[in-house]
Amino acid sequence: MIYQKDTAEPSYLDYKGKYKGIFSWIFSTDHKRIALLYMFSILTFFAIGATLGLLMKFELIAPGRTIMSAQAYNAFFTLHGIIMIFAVVIPGLPAVFGNFLLPIMIGAKDVAFPRINLLSWYLYVTGVSLVVISQFTGQGPPDTGWTFYAPYSFRTAGNMLPAVFGAFVLGFSSILTGLNFLVTIHRMRAPGMTWLKMPLFPWTLYATGWVQLLATPIIGITLLMIVAERTLHIGFFDPTLGGDPLLYQHLFWTYSHPAVYIMILPAMGAISEIITTYSHKAIFGYKFMIASVLAIAFVGYFIWGHHMFTSGMSGTALYTFSLLTFIVAVPSAIKVFNWIATMHQGSIDLQTPFYWAMAFLFVFMIGGFSGLILGSLAANVHLHNTHFVVAHFHFIVFGGTGFAFFGAMHYWYPKITGRMYDTRWANIGLVLFFIGFITLYGPMFYLGFKGMPRRYYDYDEVFHAGNIVSTMGSWVLYSGLVIIVINLFASLKSKIKAPSDPWGGKTLEWTIPSPPPVENFEEIPTVTKGPYNYS
């Protein structure tokens, strides 16, 4: 099944199509080129978001005004949140690695609707542009935080409409990606690839696709209601007109909590692929892994209320949401145990992506456990809207999705570019990134526990020490990030060409040349064995 005819067909990077230069990219409907379009746009916005974060941390190095005013700080965390959530982590793994690898891993030539795939990238760029435009037009930048809570979001003088509409467009882009993946998985699996022969990364994309499809419209309509509220004063969420601001929070989190699973499920898929490949051992409990992914996606839809424990919900709702929150921890824990059991007695190859997977496990567990603390009602009253929450979701969203993103980047880099990267610099970058991450977010648990609220540019003197440590961590993290990215770009010129299967992986993407030819497969493979056949 392994072809080594390197020169038979031009790779997707060398392919000469109808268009030249940049147009051969932005008009391409090839899923691999679209994946790279996403990769470059997401990395760009990630750099912007990370720089905003760096500046916010610098503001917090000392109490009082350091480098920016309170209003600027409000605008910074709003833009940081919108960009990082809607433009980086939600599309991150599905749009980049999902686009590139899903068709290849299930043995297809492309996604089901290649042109809609390109359209969703255009929508993505439009959405982010609208958000960026909102910063420089109207009566000053949005200052509501990425959550757009009512009633402030339709009372503030900040320029909300473009930002809210931009988020709406980004949601539409996300829906189209999910829809495309679902149809692709349903209709285009290679002959013989039954549901239970499909690798775990496509499985997680499948579950993610459903969440994208069924949760995103809720935020779409909610954002439209905010637009209508600002322009027409309908009164949906305006208490002076009889509306209930809490209902806004219900609707917002009905999407935005499942959105966390849009972020983390593909990350779990990528980590599963990495761990099984470098352990040279089939994933432990393959069916349980699938069941837990589906369970997380399903239960995750009904636990939005744990973002609102202190908002004034009824007791019945509080208990229900708290219980459901604890239930969703069970399948997550199953996954962690299965990853560890996969490594047990495997012959482990210590490569950079494997280190990323280990770092992922470490921060994901801390993030998960702190989530349980926040999920218990009594503790939540104390910790709500403190830096503890900030630390928790950065451990999950940045630590989970971010570490998996960079792990996946190093894992599939040879396949995508056809080159090998410099392992030494990659590892140095990873170590700095990891140390910086823990130093940056670790103290926030302590600060939040002590009562330091989130979203203030100023704080009491008692919180000073922790903030100094945290800010220094942000510098280490940022320098690690710079090293990682420079190393990956510099390695594009590396002389070491990647073989088709540098790591000994068993899924279909490792059976085709690196970089893959335009049509992926010379002929569609027939699958006879399970995805992780190491026997």
């Binding site: 219900h250 209320g305 919900m313 009824s314 019945t316």
Partner: protein, 94 residues
């Protein structure tokens, strides 16, 4: 496969269904004018559900597609119902 896809529904089926839909519409309009208290809502919604299942099964061909489509539609409807119920858990007991 090809034959299954080209399933042709005769015109009269559609006209029968249309007659049924209009009858149901008029029924619901008349019935709800009689004051039945809390039952009004229930009756109106039950009739709407019957009408929508007619549209789904005949007009939208669910009757002739694979079972998977029908199951997915039911799942989506249940999902919306669950979201409404869970949200009301807050409002009913506040």
């Amino acid at each position: 496969m090809e034959n299954e896809k080209n399933h042709i529904i005769p015109y009269r089926t559609f006209l029968f269904v249309l007659a049924g839909l209009i009858t149901l519409t008029l029924t619901s309009a008349v019935v709800t004018q009689i004051s039945l208290g809390t039952f009004t809502v229930a009756i109106a919604l039950i009739i709407a559900t019957i009408k929508s299942s007619l549209v789904l099964r005949v007009f939208m061909h669910l009757k002739f597609e694979s079972r998977m489509f029908s199951l997915a539609v039911i799942a989506v409807v249940l999902l919306i119902a669950t979201v409404i119920i869970i949200t009301l858990l807050d409002y009913l007991y506040r």
